[in-house]
């Protein structure tokens, strides 16, 4: 009888919980002891990518710091839906100050803890793309430049969602928002604009920069753990689809995040000291079409008349990303 | 109350001069106040500083309008800025210059007020290596005004500047003091 290799597809899979995996390889989310730092009862929309991302990130961070963690939150959806006074969904020390200043407030928190001799307590600051890429960019850059001991997490849903889906510096080309309507010769957001905040962070040569999505839970948790093993300024950029703003079905949040990666439009990578060290390989690359079609914010690209020329320009962006990061694919241990 | 007004240009230590003067007078047991009046913040712009000395607490914050003593650290200001404005009857003037009064067009002033000319920039360069005349001129000030005594002035300079710089400034200061005292003796 010939030996037939048995492939255990479920081992090492991306499933949240998997009893076939040893405990240390399972996700924090699969643990009944997870902190539920962001617990149930908040007012987020069904399928909210940011709520999902925040829960993933903070539970992993609480585990990595043994509960010694303080969180500073910028104004935005996350802060609004999680603290409807007199209720709060946060089960860890949490503070919200203003829209632009989460990085600065976090810098102050870290400095105070250091002055008190309590640097074992770690600091995590978080905000949406608007807070991070636009109005808070000066504060974020200052925090990077000073190398303050803060992990900053950006939940990127690619527009100002809480205020009604207006365009931000992170809004991708041709996406429809309330301030970039699908009208005119170049409908939706203008191409060529938009800040790549992860690469801006890398330019500051801080200890750790990484991108992640809500579709890659193991990868995201690993990056939070890795970040928390380091000191100094660190940055994590998490793609967090917004069903309302993107015009997608609420059950498609994880699937869309995965398609963003598989299309090449959202590279997932890590950088140490400003140099890329690892890139998550794209299995089963898909054309951008497959990612864009399910989103009503891109409906005008496929309407009457369709705009294959614009889709082609998006495809070029995806191709450029893949080429840019190709040499580091799978480089990390 | 004894009021002094210092005139110079940014970068010449005019404000420091007023502060050193006040420190020395305070050391002599007086109440003092020194403060600047800035023009634009740049080197070379005219700068004025004030020093008040009294035996009761000084309350007023207005600029010195009727100085008893005017110190001119930069002679190029003489006909550009009203450096003698409000000079009290019997008031004294100390000017940083090596030129005769007539050349400066100040003969008339010398007829009504005591005017002491001291080549402070030169003295400063000789004793400190730098053409900054402020501490040096204070020596002349001490020679004409009772409110500032040389020992107190030297101590103030010593506390304000580091080692060698202080020593040089003190030497220049003494030189100016001796110069004015000698002329006073000769003049009498």
């Amino acid at each position: 009888m010939t030996a037939t290799p048995i492939k255990f597809y479920q081992v090492g899979s991306r499933a949240v919980g998997n009893r076939l995996l040893p405990a240390e390889l399972r996700t924090e989310q699969s643990s009944p002891d997870r902190s539920n730092a962001l617990t149930s009862g908040h007012r987020a929309c069904q399928g909210c990518g940011e709520a999902l991302a925040a829960r993933y990130v903070l539970d992993a961070a609480v585990r990595a710091t043994s509960g010694r963690l303080i969180t500073v939150n910028a104004t935005g959806c996350l802060e609004v839906f999680s603290t409807p006074y007199p209720e709060s969904a946060w089960q860890l020390p949490w503070m919200h100050s203003l829209f632009a200043n989460a990085p600065s407030v976090a810098s102050g928190v870290a400095a105070a803890l250091a002055a008190q001799g309590r640097s074992d307590i770690r600091v995590l600051a978080q905000g949406g793309d608007g807070a991070s890429v636009d109005i808070g960019l000066a504060c974020l850059s200052g925090m990077f430049e000073r190398d303050d001991d803060v992990l900053y997490v950006c939940y990127d849903n690619e527009a100002y969602m809480n205020t009604g889906v207006q365009r931000s510096g992170a809004t991708p080309p041709f996406a429809r928002t309330a301030t970039t309507e699908a009208l005119g010769p170049e409908p939706g957001a203008s191409p060529g604009q938009g800040k790549d905040l992860a690469r801006i962070a890398m330019a500051h040569e801080i200890a750790y920069v990484a991108t992640a999505t809500v579709a890659e839970l193991h990868d995201l948790e690993r990056k939070v753990r890795r970040a928390m093993q380091l000191r100094g300024a660190r940055y994590l950029h998490v793609l967090s689809p917004c069903p309302l703003g993107w015009g997608t079905a609420s059950h498609d949040t994880v699937r869309l995040a995965r398609l963003a990666h598989r299309s090449g439009l959202f590279p997932i990578y890590e950088a140490i000291g400003g140099e890329v060290v690892d890139v998550l390989p794209i299995r089963d690359r898909v054309p951008v079409d497959e990612y864009l079609r399910p989103q009503r914010r891109y409906a005008h690209l496929f309407g009457d008349p369709p705009r294959p020329d614009l889709v082609a320009r998006v495809q070029q962006l995806a191709d450029r990303n893949v080429a840019r990061f190709a040499r580091w694919e799978g480089a990390g241990a | 109350m004894f009021q002094i007004r210092f005139h110079g240009r940014g970068g010449q230590g005019v404000v420091t001069a007023a502060e050193l003067c006040a420190a020395a007078a305070f050391d002599g047991g007086h109440e003092t106040l020194a403060f600047p009046s800035f023009g634009s913040e740049r080197t070379g712009a005219p700068v004025t500083a004030f020093c008040r000395v009294d035996d009761r607490p000084i309350l007023t914050r207005e600029p010195v309008v009727r100085p008893d003593l005017v110190v001119v650290q930069d002679a190029t200001l003489l006909h550009h800025v009203a450096v003698f404005s409000g000079l009290a009857d019997g008031g004294t003037v100390v000017i940083n210059t090596g030129r005769p009064l007539g050349d400066l067009g100040l003969d008339e002033l010398a007829g009504t007020h005591r005017v002491e000319c001291v080549p402070a920039t030169e003295l400063a360069r000789r004793h400190t290596g730098r053409p900054v005349p402020n501490a040096c001129l204070l020596g002349a000030l001490a020679a004409v005004a009772d409110v500032v005594a040389m020992p107190a002035l030297e101590q103030a300079i010593g506390e304000r500047f580091p080692g060698a710089v202080a020593a040089g400034n003190i030497a220049a200061c003494r030189a100016a003091y001796e110069l004015v005292r000698r002329e006073a003796v000769l003049g009498a």
Binding site: Q91, V105, A110 | P36
Partner: protein
């Protein structure tokens, strides 16, 4: 022990003795000597433990202070003018969150046109941000006020702004007694915050408050701020027991019988006192002229000490408010508050806007002002020392500055 020193440096020294644990710093004229002094002390190990955070803007400075204060550490920063405006959003945030931060404002005019010299337009623009506002009359007062500010802030969980006239006080060198460390420690014990971020007892700070509760939250904040009216005299007395110096929220100088009362804030009070003590006005009358004028020096502007002002005005027949700023399109700022305090009293209230953008307020101008007051010859609102000719020339030529 009194020593001749620059106001800014004395403020830096006393703030260091208040033991702040975090000092975010961003430079702006004329406050720079204060933060430079503190930075030097931290580097030299004289102020420890303390983190000196060189931030990238005033917005970041106050934000970092908010974070540090929320963790329960004593926090301090300084600014002026445009910098105060740039931290406007965090100022309201800090008071709304009840954080006992102390801020020095080196009063400077607000542009445009850009002007680096002294007036009160900066602090006045933030009079309603929910902070306690205190104004220093001279540099000794400025030093004492900072100790009192920390003590007060921590008693009532409200941030405190100490206003020190830019250049006029910050860059003036005078004899100042900076209280010793043991004196400061006696009146300023370890900070005990009302709440703080701590993993041992997690709290949520900065929740979203809706229409059903917002009014009550703001009303409670108002009550907290009003507590300063009684708590400030208490901290003044406490420090005064060690130093022998006590300057309360409102100080009156001059005879009880004075028929004219001048109300002023900040360093101009010293000049006014000098004029009154001289006792000679432009009518050439010795004594009687200025003997009929009293000064009310306001140390506390927010909360507004209405009752104390009303009592101090007493039976005066006219009040002059000497303003170092004004409300464009409206008139006096402090005047409006004074008018409120004097509700029911029917007496003339004159606004004098003086010293804008660093224009010196001279004794001569003040003497003439008081002489005109005695003759009942004052308009409701005037700009002291206005150059009527150049104003007229500008208006008739049709040119604007």
């Amino acid at each position: 022990m009194r020593e001749q020193q620059e106001g800014s440096r004395a403020v830096a020294r006393v703030v260091a003795r208040c033991r702040p644990a975090v000092v975010p710093a961003y430079p702006i004229t004329p406050q720079t000597h204060i933060v430079e002094g503190l930075g030097l002390m931290v580097r030299a190990g004289e102020l420890s433990p303390c983190r000196f955070l060189t931030v990238e803007s005033e917005f970041a400075a106050m934000s970092a202070a908010i974070g540090a204060s929320a963790v329960g550490t004593r926090t301090y920063t300084a600014t002026a003018s445009q910098g105060l405006l740039y931290m406007a959003e965090p100022l309201f945030n800090a008071s709304g969150l009840g954080l006992p931060i102390v801020l020095t404002v080196a009063n400077r005019a607000i542009g445009a046109p850009i002007n680096i010299w002294n007036d009160h337009s900066d602090a006045m623009s933030m009079r309603d941000c929910g902070w306690v506002q205190l104004y220093a009359i001279d540099n000794q007062h400025a030093v004492d006020l900072h100790v009192q500010a920390f003590a007060l802030a921590e008693r009532i969980s409200v941030p405190v702004m100490v206003c020190v006239d830019g250049f006029v006080l910050t860059h003036a060198s005078e004899p100042i007694d900076v209280p010793d460390q043991d004196v400061v420690d006696a009146v300023l014990p370890d900070i005990r915050p009302r709440q703080r971020l701590d993993p041992a007892e997690p709290v949520t700070i900065g929740a979203m408050v809706g229409p059903e509760a917002f009014t009550e939250v703001r009303y409670l904040a108002q009550l907290d701020l009003l507590r300063a009216l009684s708590e400030f005299p208490a901290v003044v007395a406490q420090l005064g027991a060690h130093t022998g110096r006590e300057v309360g929220p409102v100080t009156r100088f001059g005879p009880e019988s004075a028929r004219t009362v001048v109300i002023a804030l900040g360093s101009v009070c010293g000049t006014i006192r000098a004029v009154l003590e001289d006792g000679v006005d432009t009518d050439g009358v010795d004594g009687d002229g200025l003997g009929d004028v009293a000064l009310l020096a306001l140390t506390m502007y927010r909360p507004f000490p209405s009752a104390a002002i009303r009592a101090a005005v007493g039976d005066a027949e006219r009040v002059i408010v000497l303003e170092r700023a004004f409300a464009p399109g409206a008139g006096g700022i402090v005047t409006a508050d004074v008018r409120g305090a004097l509700t029911g009293r029917d007496l003339p209230l004159h606004t004098v806007v003086a010293g804008l953008g660093g224009r010196p307020i001279t004794e001569a101008a003040l003497r003439e002002l008081f002489a005109r007051a005695r003759r009942d010859d004052l308009p409701d609102v005037q700009f002291l020392d206005l150059d009527e000719r150049s104003v007229h020339a500008a208006r008739t030529s049709g040119a604007s500055s």
